[in-house]
């Protein structure tokens, strides 16, 4: 039975070795691993699996996707933070989750700013505000008005305490000065279930999860995050159009690497990944997942963005009810 087991591992890795031609410049010695700190099947995992074969072809080494789930992404991130700093262990993750972790959790074993260094952003996925069919609000303003007249009545489902959509929900509450009951669920699909069933009243969630229910009239979309309206929901305004004072965001996926990795390896990774993310094929695949490809021009650009976000998130979470 050991054979069966090793056969799996073998076949899984063999299938990832796509066109193992010798690379021109040889920054890469041996296989590269993309660690996904979440369970298989989620956004980060699927992105990693799209990218892996392309990256493998580009660098001439096998690229293996490895899931190290747990503690909201922090087990996998910690693993990469402590990996051999040779640039062969990448972390593909929801960036906000990692940036918020030190403010939300008590014991984060690594320091995102000093133990991990950025390579490139991968994609941005906007949120849809999905409303349960229990309410028939025509617009976001109706929801706000109802919330003002019925404090505490609207129950907002989140994917978990400190999850990205929890933070965005708290921002909305703060921006509008509303009284909503925030209910944490065990992950996004549990939260979606709750809103479809009418147990909770609304949630902010990615388009892949929410759009099918919106299009099937099991949820009403009242607003979306991001700069532009969604192609699929031309009549749903963005929060920006609604004139909200704060920045309401969706999720950002990015690739980081162990700090101290050779700069030439990081640079090569950034360049190859930017090329991969610029291809129509990959952009279409990301779009299908409800995201928009957002490769960074340089790794320094992502560094800047992360530093800014980190400071902003730390301040916001400290002044909110997110951590009890």
């Amino acid at each position: 039975m050991i054979n069966i087991k090793s056969l799996f591992v073998g076949s899984a890795s063999v299938s990832l070795i796509v066109a193992g031609n010798v690379a021109l410049a040889n920054e890469f010695q041996g296989p590269v691993r993309i660690v996904v700190p979440f369970a298989p099947g989620g956004t980060s995992d699927i992105l990693a699996r799209y990218i892996a074969p392309e990256l493998s072809e580009a660098i001439g080494q096998p690229v293996i996707v490895e899931n190290k789930a747990g503690a909201g992404g922090n087990i996998g991130a910690d693993y990469v933070a402590k990996a051999n700093p040779n640039g062969h262990t990448l972390l593909l993750s929801d960036l906000t989750a990692l940036l918020a972790a030190p403010s939300v959790l008590d014991n984060v074993a690594y320091d995102i700013e000093s133990d991990l260094s950025p390579v490139t952003m991968v994609s941005y996925s906007p949120y849809v505000l999905g409303m349960s069919q229990q309410h028939n609000f025509e617009s976001f303003d109706d929801l706000v008005e109802y919330s003002r007249n019925n404090p505490g009545d609207i129950a907002v489902a989140t994917s978990g305490v400190g999850a990205n959509n929890h933070i965005t929900t708290e921002r909305l509450i703060q921006d509008l000065g509303l009284d909503w009951t925030v209910i944490a669920y065990r992950g996004g699909s549990d939260a979606t279930r709750a809103v479809v069933s009418g147990e909770s009243d609304m949630l902010l969630n990615g388009t892949t999860a929410s759009l099918p229910f919106v299009l099937n009239d099991q949820m009403n979309a009242l607003a979306v995050t991001g700069e532009e309206r969604l192609e699929e929901l031309p009549d749903t305004p963005t929060f920006r159009e609604l004139g909200l004072p704060g920045e309401l965001d969706g999720t950002y996926q990015g690739i980081l690497v162990t700090a101290g990795s050779p700069p030439e390896v990081v640079e090569r990774l950034q360049k190859e990944l930017a090329d991969i993310l610029a291809t129509e094929d990959l952009q279409a695949k990301i779009a299908q997942q409800g995201g928009q490809a957002r490769p960074s021009e340089t790794s320094a650009q992502l560094q800047e963005w992360m530093t800014e976000q980190m400071a902003e998130l730390t301040e916001f979470i400290a002044g909110s009810d997110i951590k009890q």
């Binding site: 039975m1 799996f8 699996r49 069933s197 759009l211 099918p212 951590k323």
Partner: protein, 501 residues
Amino acid sequence: MEIINNLALGISVAFTLENLMYCALGVTIGMFIGVIPGVGHLAAISMLLPLTYYVPATTALVMLAGIYYGAQYGGSTAAILLNLPGTPSSSVICLDGYPMSKNGRAGVALFMTTIASFVGSFITVIVLAAFAPPLANFAVAFNSADYFAMMLLGLVAAAILVQGSPAKGLAAVVFGLMLGMVGTDVSTGIQRYTFGLTFLYDGINIVAIAMGIFGVTEVIANVGKVAQIKNDQKITFRSLLPTKRDVKDSVFPILRGTGIGTGIGILPGTGTSIGSFIAYALEKRISKDPSKFGKGAIEGITAPESANNAAAQSAFIPTLTLGIPGDAVMALMLGALLIHGITPGPNVISDNPDLFWGLVVSFLIGNLLLLILNIPMVGLWVRLLKIPYPILYPAIILFIVIGVYSINYANMDIMLVAMFGVIGCVLLILGFEPAPLLLGYILGPMMEENFRRAMLISRGDLMVFLERPVSATFFALIALFLCWSIYSAIKQRRSPVEGEL
């Protein structure tokens, strides 16, 4: 006659050579994965996921689903032969399966669990084909109050699982509840009993507990025991076959188990274990002679076995019809669909009828294949008992370690399984039972989470549990059940001899 057309479509999809091959591959892998203690289908499916890039979405799902339900068949094998559950949901099979094995009826037990698995799955697939959309809508309408009431009923049922002292049984359940509290509290995000250890943030791995307190404990407990059970028993074809009585005693338990498994399996997040525990408890409760449970009662293996297979099949109902996955494996399968450009959601059946119906027909084919694969294996598995302990036990420990590691690739899980092996030994010596502990562990966190959520939403109004019809029904059942227990206890005290009968 829409269903006939749909099934015809499904047959045309499922009976292509490619799909048949991947179906056979999936169920075979699943069966072996199930047999190896601790190796979960999640690990197998995530390892095989990259393979599915190169085949169409339906084919990919046919194979991945095959692994999922195939593993339910194999799970009981080691439970019966070695008191070692292959999957956490087959822990309850140990209770009567292992005694059957000790009585020299291992072949019969394996034979009957295969039949129970098949019947449970097959009926549920037919239910799935006929009523998937309405059932999914029913499942989704279950809210936190209903979940809580159902879990409470499950916990009350745990009392029946106890074979020895009720006080020790209760203590075991409470210990299980306490273990379930370890980790991040879902409602507040606060860490409980994690001592700052990151690997405990998501709680203690259930496989580590199940493999530890059943498997490792069993191995430790048998070290030093010279005599091997029924080592000399002749394995004849006849000895593998169930008697007419076995079959007759199993018909209704299998049907009841299937009903329970299907009902619980369609609720997202409940998994396959709860159904098998409740099916066992129900059989013991309604049995004319509850004292035979724990000593090799055939109902004690066939009912839970059909329940966990039924639950594994009905878990596909919310996953496929609504795109709401019940567990991590289902989420992974939806991920596989996404990779193939199919967005899971309430329109999957209408947008991709060939996918849904092809999969349904492949379930039927897969289960038939599993039946054909498993029956001849029975004789082979029984021969495992002939392997001397000094060779068998180290091998078991090795498989447990590989298995538990394959779940999260976490070294700490191996430490945990060893620790629970020792804890299990202490519990065994002191006369505490592992099954109620495990049920407490499974139900505790879900109960707490749903209770607090129901309270948050109703803003502290306890009446919410009685106002909702589903939860009110469960509470009525709990009341009925408690009254029955008190009544039978009083009756037993008045006439001890009659009470036994």
